[in-house]
């Protein structure tokens, strides 16, 4: 294998600095002991992390995001698993159109989805409710859940199921004892990826969340629009830290590359 030349390594270093700079600066400023935006020149302080506790708006928004991500990802999977089995196993009329429909939220700008849901939920009387948030998040995370479930359903050897059937197992037993356990790793990673997508979603949610149902990114976005102070950097730093931990765990268990390179990203 050929090696990278010195020029390539200089480029690579600058590139990595570019990718990390905004993330590092948020985390650094979060540790400032001062009352204004500054780097912690005289040693780090946890002052602004402690301040978060006095702002229930951020704490409540955090829990809304957690519950929203967990519930909508779970429901999205409940819809994706049968859909993935149908797409992977059977050649039926309208299969491609069905797949395209379920993948369509990837192509529709989230602003458009936000507006469409705002109008729809207001008309049917669930505007600004948690139920509305869950429904909308099911839609935007479903393509991610479906992609990973589909990958493991297609990768599975159909002969294992045939063996179970020929040994007298019923359809239900095959599903419960053979199929589901075999696609479980894909399903679990699908849940994790969906959760992260839901937790980060801001563009669509900003249209449909009301003051009682704001998610954390929406709360952060609205806060930043008014002013940028050390408090919002400490909140952001906490979100970044949590994401990095989740990222490293996911990378170890499933492989980040496999999680993200899978088909779908390239198909959009």
């Amino acid at each position: 294998m050929s090696r990278n030349g010195p020029l390539a390594l200089v480029f690579h270093t600058l590139f990595v600095i570019f990718m990390l700079a905004p993330i590092v600066v948020v985390c650094a400023v979060a540790f400032t002991p001062e009352g204004y935006l500054s780097l912690p020149a005289n040693g780090p302080s946890l002052r602004w992390f402690r301040t978060i506790a006095r702002y229930p708006e951020f704490i409540n928004a955090f829990w809304t995001s957690i519950w929203l991500g967990a519930i909508s990802s779970l429901i999205a999977l409940a819809f994706s698993v049968p859909a993935a089995l149908a797409i992977a196993r059977y050649d039926f009329t309208g299969r491609d159109a069905f797949t395209a429909l379920l993948m369509s939220p990837l192509m529709i700008p989230h602003v458009v989805l936000g507006i469409a849901f705002l109008r729809f939920f207001t008309q049917i009387g669930i505007g600004g409710t948690f139920l509305g948030l869950v429904l909308s998040h099911i839609v935007v995370v479903l393509p991610f859940a479906l992609r990973l479930t589909l990958a493991s359903a297609t990768g599975m050897d159909p002969r294992i199921e045939q063996a179970a059937v020929s040994l007298g197992a019923s359809e239900w037993t095959v599903l419960k004892r053979v199929t589901l356990p075999l696609i479980l790793p894909g399903v679990a990673s699908g849940w994790a990826l969906s959760f992260i997508q839901s937790f980060d979603e801001v563009t669509m949610t900003v249209f449909i969340a009301a003051p009682g149902t704001e998610t954390l990114p929406v709360r952060m976005f609205l806060y930043i629009q008014d002013n940028i102070d050390p408090l919002v950097t400490s909140v952001s730093a906490s979100v970044i830290a949590a994401t990095v931990v989740a990222l490293v765990i996911l990378d170890r268990i499933y492989g980040l590359e496999r999680l993200l390179v899978g088909r779908g990203v390239g198909e959009r």
């Binding site: 905004p22 400023v29 149908a86 992977a88 602003v111 990114p217 952060m220 976005f221 980040l256």
Partner: protein, 292 residues
């Protein structure tokens, strides 16, 4: 697909399995989208609110008012610049990553594509801090290095928007080129080198043509996402410098002129679908043999 000759089961089985997903998406995706398109034809007045009539008022306003042209032009100009920059920087980086040795390869791949999963709001906040905040770190660094002679305004400008969006979109480009690089056979490069081709010739004649489909499909993704980005242009652009998505947001939540906001959003959707489908066609026709 090959798994199809597997387990057949009853003929109605796939329909039963796909029914829940289909019903859900018809009810809460297609219906709301249709309602939004309808909404863009409704009338609106400061005191009367939304009037459910079918008129072309909003569309005519977008068509004739120079302000809307300016906003849409800016949206696509920014998206185009972001696409070019991510391709010019992301493709070489993906190639460099693919040539790294084992532990570094994984670590740097995580560093480069990991930000994809970090909140866009947090990342944009980082750029806002670097641009403005405590004296503008980026300008200080560039001035000290002698790259520039006077500070560049980043905050509330298109330049700043483009830099921050390049950061936000970069992982998509690197991922797409990375996927194309995985299909590349290193033996072909070695063969070219052993036949006396220079490193530059190998890059230009062997590597680039093979990863071009990856760059192009990455470009389509980046363009679509950059043209419809919301949080980044909103935070960096401020209240004055609007793009299509922030304009639609303004009409919906500040002016409360929903029909006009819906028209802006529907136009953005139509423009993007046309651009994506059109460029997909061109890419697929041009590189039909690669995709087969």
């Amino acid at each position: 697909m090959s798994a199809l000759e597997g387990r057949s089961g009853p003929r109605w089985m796939p329909y039963i399995l796909s029914a829940p997903g289909l019903a859900l998406f018809v009810a809460i995706v297609l219906v709301p989208l249709a309602m939004t398109i309808l909404l863009s034809f409704h009338d609106w007045g400061q005191y009367k609110g939304i009037e459910t009539v079918f008129i072309l008022k909003n569309w005519r306003e977008i068509w004739s008012d120079g302000y809307f042209h300016e906003v849409f032009l800016r949206t696509f100009r920014v998206a185009f610049a972001v696409t070019l920059l991510t391709a010019a920087l992301g493709a070489p980086e993906a190639y460099i990553l693919s040539r790294m040795k084992s532990p570094w390869k994984g670590i740097f791949l995580l560093v480069v594509i990991g930000p994809l999963l970090i909140s866009v709001v947090a990342r944009t906040l980082g750029w806002a801090l670097l641009f403005g905040g405590s004296g503008g770190v980026v300008n200080k660094a560039l001035l000290n290095l002698g790259v520039i002679s006077s500070p560049i305004p980043f905050m509330f400008t298109e330049t700043g928007m483009i830099v921050a969006l390049v950061h936000v979109m970069m992982p998509f480009m690197v991922l797409s080129v990375w996927a194309a690089l995985q299909r590349l056979d290193p033996q072909i490069e070695n063969a070219a080198l052993s036949l006396g081709a220079s490193q530059v010739t190998v890059l230009r004649r062997i590597v680039l043509p093979q990863i071009m489909p990856g760059i192009l499909s990455g470009a389509i993704i980046v363009f679509a996402l950059a043209a419809s980005a919301f949080a980044t242009p909103s935070i960096i652009g401020g209240r004055r410098l609007k793009v299509a998505s922030t304009l639609a947001y303004d009409e919906f939540l500040n002016t409360l002129n929903w029909p006009l906001g819906a028209a802006v959003a529907v136009l953005l959707l139509i423009a993007l679908v046309l651009i994506i489908v059109g460029s997909n066609r061109i890419v697929e026709r041009r590189y039909a043999e690669v995709f087969r």
